[in-house]
Subunit: 212 residues, 2 copies
Amino acid sequence: MKYHAVNMDKRRYVQRARAASAEVTRLRILDAAEASFDRGPLAAVRIDDVARRAGVSRSTVYTLFDSRRGLLVALAGRLREVAEFERLIEASMHPDARESLRRAQRESVRIFATRPELARALFTMAGVDADAVAAVAALEDGRRPGMVHLARRLEEQGQLRAGIGVKEAADLLSVATSFPAFDELFHALGLPEEVVADRLVALAERAVCRDE
Amino acid sequence: MKYHAVNMDKRRYVQRARAASAEVTRLRILDAAEASFDRGPLAAVRIDDVARRAGVSRSTVYTLFDSRRGLLVALAGRLREVAEFERLIEASMHPDARESLRRAQRESVRIFATRPELARALFTMAGVDADAVAAVAALEDGRRPGMVHLARRLEEQGQLRAGIGVKEAADLLSVATSFPAFDELFHALGLPEEVVADRLVALAERAVCRDE
DNA sequence: ATTTCATCGGACAGTGTGTATTCCGATGCA
DNA sequence: TGCATCGGAATACACACTGTCCGATGAAAT
């Protein structure tokens, strides 16, 4: 309010060392937040706590991430990176639609299994907390269109099961590749990642593809 | 603590009108709580709010339901009743295993669709709030064993797909009959209840049963 | 007339988020 | 080297919601 006309003909600073250390701080906070998922459900992630564990003051968390929600969105963003989200995109581009389906399904499982606790927290949060949808949107973005596209390609290549339309196929693929489907097997039933992948690939293929 | 030895040789009252009106109050609160799901996610269900809408004081909610969690558990209980949960059990007992699968799947969908917002809240809550598992346990109770049993019967009756074991079948049925599978189609994709039922029956059958 | 009980209404403690303000000290331009 | 600038700490505060406690009220039951 009172500093509005300050920076004319003032020095313009280009931070270097400090910007670097700021980045380190940022990462420390993200690590702390991620780690706190191991000690309980989403509700257990308290800014207070994260700050303390990161060896940072609470206000710093707010200046860097704006809000609890912002912190979670940042976590989701980092999940995309650390899980190499691009590989999923890549997998969906295989010329053989059916092979594409298999690979994309496996990539999804791989991504979810990278940080299962974090992923579960983000997804469940989205169902309960309206503010949290944003965090998940970053991960879910493009899944539905991707499934529609895949279904269309399967049809073009004559791989769709008899009597099933593109729309239905897309619907079923959406279910089979969803996080909850993964989580039901991985978390609730305790199956290892590879088995989950096998199961879900089988589920998806049987649901929408013709027998080979 | 201090009222332990009170009611010896005191008058024992037989409630009539008062018990009735108490029950009415209880129902008004449950209705209000349920209605508040329409105005937002679980987090939007605030005791303050529920009390006001029920035309009841906040402390009354606490005396009747103990806590927010207690209120939600009560809601889950009422869901079981209003959704006629027994019909699912009944459906699972059909002698023909495959018919049993179809019916049970449809019954699940019907139950979930009875109060979708409430159901979603309860299920997601279980993932976020460790204390809330109890509320959902009543709804999820027996689902997994039920699926194992169903898979076993399918095998006995020679209905299992070639090369698929009882364990795998149970896993896949668990996914197909889960609430999230329903929700993905009903909520995220906006399909009407009947279509959801069709889709999920198809998914389950194709996943684990041999072709007819 | 008296007892009992449902309900009320408010005070209070606890815990979490989010905001605003002030201060310190390292950084880096001149 | 002097000093402006910015990262971050510290602190206090507003606010929202849950829970607990307790005395008061008035209608129902005897």
